[in-house]
């Protein structure tokens, strides 16, 4: 669910180069298992157990990330269509079809080398039911050992002890034994603790980075730009020293940007004057990512907070991986991911973002593929408008299916939305002036 900077080629800071190297190095390791002898675990982004996987010395392969990479390289459309020709419905999540299409085209990794088959499928389906069937489809293909971690949904907006116990028990009795068996290594709780300690360190810096958007102007774009910042955290690097170093460097860069009074870096260079501060709900579109982003920065719109950047963990509300209670903490991590929170909690979070980040509006990018995000978003928008008074707007795109990105429609929508914000602002300042 997060991307690799290389496909964008914006102005490169050291953090960007580091990020690119990290992501590439993971693909290189994955496609070199014949030599490095590493075992591969396929798992999903939200609620991934990277620290645990790494503590067994295994590599982590994430199909959503592959789909994103393929979308940004304009490969996903063909893959989706070949999955549809194989009998997959046009109605279902396009990540699944991009993944299945990728397999049918030889499973070539973004570095051009064939991806190895996974040694273990680890299904932790946090916040979305599609994962469950996606995983069954992968199992049909790979016929390798599989293990499932069910993460109950926060129906009442809270994590109960029963939920936590259930997850911990599955970790102890199902997931860890499966990892032991496939990796050939015994579970080492100290190695896990060490990973989690590093996770928490990196998480501190990540939160600082995300919250830097409270500055005016915001030194970051907390949606398009933040996708890159989250790459290491959401994928195979949480828990590693590389991630700790990366977030330190990133933080320093942003501190510098704040000192200089600079806005975010965009693919078109440094952003001009910040005119609109937007909160975003929903995942981005990947096939036209750069074009989509440009529609924002051309208008002086910067995203100051987003929910998508919380699908792989909600760190800005206090959660940190806790080395002192490793398994309970992994459970809380999985249970707390954004789409595993109920709708009222999601609305509360958006409301808080609009207020804390002093946003001018809420924009929803509604994704055709993703019921987990999309079902209920119209109501969320109404609630936010009611609670905060800022205007909401809605655009519809897809994740990795290029057929559902209509640039003209999206652009029109955005332009009229920004105009509306502008008019409201004028109206408000006229009212203030006349009150004087």
């Amino acid at each position: 669910m997060s991307a690799n900077i290389e496909t964008l080629d914006p102005q490169k800071d050291s953090s960007m180069l580091m990020q690119k190297e990290m992501i590439n190095s993971n693909y290189d390791a994955l496609t070199d298992t014949a030599n490095n002898g590493k075992k591969v675990c396929s798992t999903f982004v939200p609620g991934n157990l990277n620290e645990l996987i790494q503590s067994f010395g295994m590599l982590n392969n994430l199909p959503e990330t592959n789909a994103i990479q393929n979308a940004m390289r304009q490969q996903s459309g063909g893959m989706i269509q070949s999955a549809e020709r194989m009998g997959h419905s046009e109605d279902v999540c396009t990540y699944v079809k991009a993944d299945i299409g990728m397999m049918s085209k030889g499973n070539i990794a973004p570095n051009g080398k064939p991806m190895p088959n996974p040694d273990l499928l680890l299904l932790s389906y946090t916040g979305c039911f599609t994962f469950m069937k996606w995983f069954e489809l992968l199992r049909q293909e790979y016929k390798c050992p599989t293990v499932m971690l069910q993460v109950p949904y926060q129906g009442d907006g809270e994590v109960t002890q029963n939920m936590r116990d259930f997850v911990v028990k599955q970790l102890k009795e199902e997931v860890i034994p499966a990892l032991e068996q496939v990796s050939g290594n015994k579970f080492d709780i100290d190695a896990l603790r060490e990973q989690m300690r590093r996770s928490a360190q990196a998480e501190d810096d990540l939160v600082w980075v995300l919250e830097s958007a409270k500055n005016k102007p915001s030194p970051i774009d907390a949606y398009f730009g933040a996708i890159y910042y989250l790459g290491p955290m959401f994928t195979a690097f949480r828990g590693t020293q590389q991630a700790v170093d990366y977030y330190k460097v990133l933080r320093q860069e942003i501190e510098q940007r704040i000192k200089n009074g600079q806005g975010p870096i965009t693919p078109g260079g440094s952003m001009g004057k910040e005119k609109y501060r937007i909160v975003m709900e929903g995942p981005p579109n990947w096939t036209n990512f750069r074009e989509f982003w440009k529609m924002f920065y051309d208008e002086g719109a910067v995203v100051v907070a987003s929910t998508y950047t919380k699908v792989g963990g909600v760190y800005d509300q206090g959660f940190r991986h806790d080395a002192d209670n490793p398994l309970e903490s992994l459970a809380d991590y999985c249970l707390g991911c954004y789409t595993n929170r109920n709708l009222p909690k999601r609305v509360d979070m958006l409301e808080k973002y609009v207020k804390d980040y002093e946003a001018d509006g809420l924009l929803i990018n509604s994704i055709k593929s993703c019921n987990s995000f999309s079902a209920g978003q119209l109501m969320m928008m109404q609630e936010i408008e009611k609670r905060t008074g800022v205007p909401g707007a809605f655009v519809e795109t897809d994740l990795v299916d290029p057929r559902y990105f209509s640039a003209a429609n999206v652009k029109n929508r955005l332009e009229s939305y920004f105009q509306m914000i502008e008019q409201r602002r004028q109206g408000q300042s006229n009212m203030i002036a006349s009150a004087r």
Binding site: H88, S89, M148, F166, K169, N342, P344, N371
Partner: protein, 386 residues
């Protein structure tokens, strides 16, 4: 009573989007409560034991005009949540004290939160079930979830839900499940006497009337149906799969039959067929319900299948047991669980040379002609090649 009279009553219940029967049941005694639930499964015994009627909400069908509901959903989301919102927003559910949203998919899951925001006075519970089938893992989790549900309902109703009462309710629902099994067996045996239209409507009636009344209705219907002597048609025997949540219009079911297919099994309503065997009524009732759920429950796309070898085997078993000649995969448009699972099921059918076709519908689909033609061609091809 004749089958015609019974089915006429069922039809009235089916068409009544104000749920008058349930309203009347509730009005007769102030301690009674009504708890709505959506597909696919909830343990109705627990409600029953607390003097609560569980009311199955399966969307608004094709007669309900959806005005408010559409404002809540994008075009690419299925119909059932919008017509359910319509039922709520138009006051048709104003007598319902609580709503259960089972864990079946992200749409129903999110609807549970929307319901909380829309109707803050109503007891709303997302009803989670285990996808892990180990007794001491998924089983324990589920027992605790059942206990939470029990406590929530006790608080809501002020009625104590004792073990004894649940055991008694288990017995009553065992009878209901047994009768439904008999009904399905009877249809499979004599589909010329027991039409799918009738079976469907009888099932739907069971969603909106007290279980005791439903039990009587099922008995009366079967007694009368067995005595019928309708002509046997040269229809082929097919199974419907994928329709476990949003329901097709009744006309669609009728069209399939008219096109030359006897439906000999289906997954239209699974709540009364979810638990496959008698649930023991001795001992700890929550444990018994959990054991039945974990070890002896129906297969559906809402469940995780933990071994690839088992994927589609339940359906295959039903094909064999019912001596079906083909499968019609009929799923609601945009239904992720059904449509994601479909390719795996069709693969299994191909492996065993079971003829099958697929189509999608919506609860308000109007045009039956294409479906009738597709089903007709399917029936002809089965007859030709068998």
């Amino acid at each position: 009573m004749s089958t015609v009279d019974i089915i006429k009553r069922c039809e009235e219940l089916y068409e009544d989007t104000y749920f008058t029967a349930a309203r009347e049941w509730k009005a007769a005694d102030p301690s009674r409560k009504v708890i709505g639930y959506m597909p696919v499964y909830v343990p109705r015994e627990i409600m029953h034991a607390g003097n609560m009627m569980s009311l199955g909400i399966l969307g608004g069908g094709d007669n309900l005009e959806v005005i408010h509901g559409d404002a809540y959903y994008q075009s690419y989301i299925c119909r059932i949540p919008r017509s359910t919102i319509e039922l709520g927003k138009t006051g048709r559910l104003d007598f319902v004290d609580g709503m259960l949203f089972p864990s079946i998919c992200d749409v129903i899951r999110n609807l549970s939160g929307m319901w909380k925001l829309m109707f803050p006075e109503t007891y709303v519970r997302y009803f989670d079930v285990p996808q892990n089938y180990q007794d001491d893992i998924g089983g324990n989790y589920y027992v605790a979830e059942l206990q939470e549900l029990r406590e929530g309902l006790e608080k809501l109703s002020g009625n104590k839900i004792t073990d004894e009462a649940i055991r008694n309710s288990i017995q009553i629902y065992n009878i209901n499940r047994n009768l439904i099994r008999e009904l399905y067996d009877l249809r499979s045996e004599m589909p010329h006497n027991v039409s799918s239209n009738d079976v469907y409507l009888l099932n739907r009636a069971g969603m909106v009337i007290p279980v005791e009344e439903h039990n009587e209705m099922l008995r009366d219907y079967m007694d009368a149906a067995m005595r019928l002597d309708n002509p046997k048609r040269d229809n082929c025997r097919i199974i419907i799969n994928g329709s476990f949540c949003e329901q097709p219009p009744l006309n669609l079911i009728r069209s399939i039959e008219l096109a030359g297919c006897y439906i000999v099994d289906d997954d239209y309503m699974l709540v009364n067929r979810w638990l496959l065997n008698e649930v023991p009524s001795e001992g700890n009732p929550l444990q018994n319900l959990a054991d039945a759920f974990i070890h002896e429950s129906a297969d559906s796309a809402a469940k995780y299948c933990d071994r690839h070898e088992d994927v589609g085997m339940y359906l295959l078993g039903t094909v064999k047991e019912r001596q079906a000649e083909g499968v019609i995969f009929a799923a609601p448009s945009f239904c992720d669980p059904a449509l994601l699972e479909r390719p795996m099921l069709t693969d299994r059918m191909k492996e065993h040379d079971i003829p099958h076709i697929s189509f999608k519908y919506a609860e308000n689909s109007g045009q039956m002609q294409p479906i009738r033609e597709q089903a007709g061609t399917f029936a002809d091809s089965i007859k030709l090649w068998s």
